[in-house]
């Protein structure tokens, strides 16, 4: 039987190690032990990355905003995330009187669980992953929707009207953005010919960002909406809804929600790195030659690049309004994703087994389509023909003699 774990080098090694220790008839135990160890490593790896991401985001955002950011706890403030978690742990865990006990308890747990589940299928390097699921791509777009349910549970269960509004926004928005997000991946799947993330990475002789610029754009935008990052951070819009669905959460429950939020950022960046910039592969040297950096490090570099990109977007853009966000999903992103899929499908039919040169031709066609579409759509969606600042004019008023 081919199990989804067979291609996992770490797992095979550990399984071999435990199998030697245990009697023949206890192979399941070795299997279990090896699984637990790998899961432990992956979960903690993701958590550590998330902790690092919160630190990095605060430092980088600080730089954007001409201030320093956390720099007191440990060298360069590196221990700040741990201090934060410790503080949250010792805080009082409040539950509002109007809150629904079950949903209020479930929401943070479900959110974290959903995010960590996705980590199971992300290949962090060659043979470094938990499971090579043959429906990996579906898994990474499907499982985070559980987090949406959790948000709604949390918002509804808090018994707070701000939270309820935030939850309602979350559901409306996330459902809308699921659609373009999934459709934008169709082109990638057509090119890779497989839904396994490992196969997707290995299929990238050219990084898919070169072949799928439009798909990348749609996925990036939809993903930042999915993660409820600026400019789509409607559901916890601080200036409007105080904190949206997690208004009432405190102590470690709040900590878990924050973990889920930043964890999702890390996971989505990892997915972007895997799907669009060829994961652990060196973008400059073909995999057939000697590598001068381990694949895991390449992966990490690409991951950090996307984290920085998201921080940059957050530092720059204001928030959109709820109806504008929805209109953007349905009027711009969805058609763009469909166009991308159609063009890619035609190209794949034309060159089922493309040569390296033909790949570049495909890339050129895709870029042309992408630029044409983006220009057309921005024209179509633009409302301000004349220069917007023209509405205010300087008027010279004669100062009447005093």
């Amino acid at each position: 039987m081919e199990s989804p774990f067979d291609r996992n080098g770490l797992f095979s090694g550990l399984y071999g190690f435990f199998a030697d220790l245990t009697p023949e008839s206890f192979a399941w135990l070795a299997y279990l032990l090896a699984g637990v160890v790998v899961v432990f490593i992956v979960i903690n790896g993701v958590m550590l990355l998330t902790a690092f991401e919160t630190y990095m985001e605060r430092r980088v955002l600080g730089r954007f905003q001409t201030r320093l950011g956390p720099n007191r706890v440990g060298p360069f403030g590196l221990l700040q995330p741990f201090a934060d978690v410790f503080k949250l742990l010792i805080k009082e865990d409040l539950r509002p009187a109007m809150a629904d006990r079950l949903t209020f308890f479930l929401a943070p747990v479900l959110m974290v669980a959903a995010i960590l589940l996705v980590a199971a299928v992300v290949p962090f390097g060659p043979n470094t992953f938990l499971a090579d699921l043959n429906i990996g791509v579906l898994f990474i777009v499907g499982i985070p929707t559980i987090a949406t349910v959790a948000m709604f549970l949390g918002g509804w269960g808090s018994g707070n009207r701000f939270a309820l509004l935030g939850a309602a926004r979350a559901v409306a928005m996330l459902i809308s953005y699921e659609v373009p997000m999934i459709v934008s991946l169709a082109g990638v799947l057509l090119l890779a010919g497989s839904m396994s993330l490992v196969d997707v990475v290995e299929a990238q002789r050219l990084p898919f960002i070169v072949l799928q610029p439009l798909g990348f754009f749609v996925f990036l935008v939809a993903a930042s909406a999915e993660m409820n990052r600026s400019p789509f951070d409607l559901m916890e819009a601080e200036s409007e809804l105080t904190a949206g669905f997690h208004t009432e959460f405190s102590g470690i429950r709040f900590g878990l929600l924050q973990l889920a939020e930043f964890g999702e950022l890390v996971i989505i960046s990892a997915v972007l790195a895997v799907i669009f910039v060829s994961g652990w592969q060196n973008p400059f040297v073909s995999p057939d030659y000697a590598q001068w950096l381990p694949g895991q490090l390449w992966f990490l570099l690409k991951l950090v690049f996307f984290l920085l990109l998201f921080t940059w977007i957050r530092a720059t853009l204001p928030r959109m309004r709820v109806d504008q966000v929805m209109a953007f999903a349905w009027k711009a992103l969805f058609p763009l994703a469909i166009i991308n899929t159609l063009v890619t499908a035609v190209l794949v039919v034309a060159w089922p087994e493309p040569e390296y040169g033909q790949l570049w031709i495909m890339a050129a066609i895709n870029w042309a389509v992408a630029i044409a579409c983006l220009v057309l759509f921005s024209r179509f969606l633009e409302r301000h023909r004349e220069r917007p600042t023209a509405s205010v004019q300087l008027v010279e008023i004669p100062a009447e003699a005093s």
Binding site: A237, P318, M320, R383, T389, S391, V392, Q393, P398, S402
Partner: protein
């Protein structure tokens, strides 16, 4: 489109809320995201300034005025001392007048930067524009610290002039500020003022018509954004504004974007005025001496200035004593709130903060 009725919910935005700019409460009734009814409730910061003024001497009241609109203390000082001078017929030496105009314009820059910064913050811009604005404001507050030792509650002006001669290091610092601030503001403008999301969020949102604005006695940048070219520095010049060469930015749509842009452009005009003050600063005393127990003759006087939020007026009634018999403060933020409820109904919750932020209301001044 079918209009589906849904259960309306009432929420209290404030008095503890990240974007009500102080202790202000809006009782909002929502149908989904759409606002169907608004009731502004305030007074949480009411300190009885007008009553306190009746028990203080004319000089002591200056400190009370600092605490009205705490983002533009200098201009509050100026409005008050002008009223006292009008009441008592005191003349101010030219250097004092120039210093007043210089500091008032610097304060206007600081206040507008804060208004613009928080407006963009309410749009959800994660603090970056706000920090840009605060960086410049900080430099202006440093100048005030040189003048009088205080940064926010300055109490720099006195009936008859200003508190004291600026220290020698003040002038190079002003020069440096005037040289560098325009670039910093331009940087902010490049970042944000033609950003597509800002345009989508503010263009056409919260329109205040010209007629409505005048009828409701809206003043300041909000009035000018609605297309009324009315600036008390031009219409009723006080101190040395009549000698200053500057233009008044006037909007045409009366929407949130125009209110935002009018403020940004006024910053440039304020720099222009400050530049002229720096250039033409006359010598001589900064204050005409008044007796310690200063007793204006019985009577009343109303003086108004173009404060950063609008027309700030002081109506003083004297009974010949050392304290005013009545000191009424015509606060622009308070009267600008008259139009708030009407502007908000029909918009979404997200627009509420944009519209409220674009009015640039200061609760210290509303509640007094």
């Amino acid at each position: 489109m079918v209009n589906l009725p849904s259960e309306q919910i009432t929420i209290n935005l404030g008095p503890q809320h990240p974007s009500t700019h102080g202790v202000f409460r809006l009782r909002v009734t929502l149908d989904g995201e759409v606002i169907t009814d608004v009731e502004p409730i305030f007074g949480y910061l009411h300190r009885g300034t007008e009553k306190l003024a009746e028990e203080r001497t004319y000089t002591q009241i200056v400190t009370l005025t600092d605490r009205l609109d705490y983002t533009s203390s200098m201009i509050n000082n100026q409005a008050y001392v002008l009223a006292v001078e009008k009441l008592a017929g005191v003349t101010v030496p030219p250097r004092g007048q120039y210093l007043r105009v210089l500091t008032a314009e610097l304060q206007r820059i600081a206040s507008h930067l804060m208004g613009v910064g928080f407006f963009l913050q309410d749009l959800g811009a994660s603090g970056t524009p706000l920090m840009y604005c605060f960086r410049e404001r900080e430099r202006i507050l440093d100048l005030f610290e040189m003048l009088c030792g205080a940064r926010v509650t300055v109490s720099y002006m006195r009936p008859g002039g200003v508190f004291q001669e600026p220290p020698p290091e003040f002038w190079p610092a002003v020069r440096h500020l005037l040289d560098t601030t325009p670039d910093a503001i331009a940087e902010l403008e490049r970042l944000i003022s033609e950003n597509e999301i800002v345009l989508a969020r503010t263009k056409g949102v919260g329109v205040l018509t010209k007629e409505k604005a005048i009828d409701s006695a809206v003043s300041g940048p909000n009035l000018r954004a609605s297309g009324v070219a009315w600036d008390l520095r031009k219409a009723d010049p006080y101190d040395v504004y009549a000698d200053m060469d500057f233009a008044v930015p006037v909007g045409s749509n009366g929407d949130s974007y125009d209110r935002f842009l009018v403020r940004v452009m006024e910053v440039h005009q304020s720099i222009r005025i400050a530049e002229q003050c720096y250039r033409d600063m006359p010598g001589g005393p900064v204050r005409s001496e008044l007796p310690f127990f200063f007793r204006p003759p019985p009577g009343d006087a109303y003086a108004h200035v173009e404060a950063s939020k609008g027309e700030l007026g002081f109506y003083l009634v004297s009974d010949g004593g050392i304290a005013p018999y009545r000191c009424k403060i015509r606060s622009p933020s308070f009267i600008n709130l008259t139009v708030l409820a009407e502007m908000l109904i029909g918009w979404k919750v997200a627009d509420l903060m944009v519209i409220f932020g674009s009015l640039d209301v200061n609760m210290g001044e509303v509640d007094r």
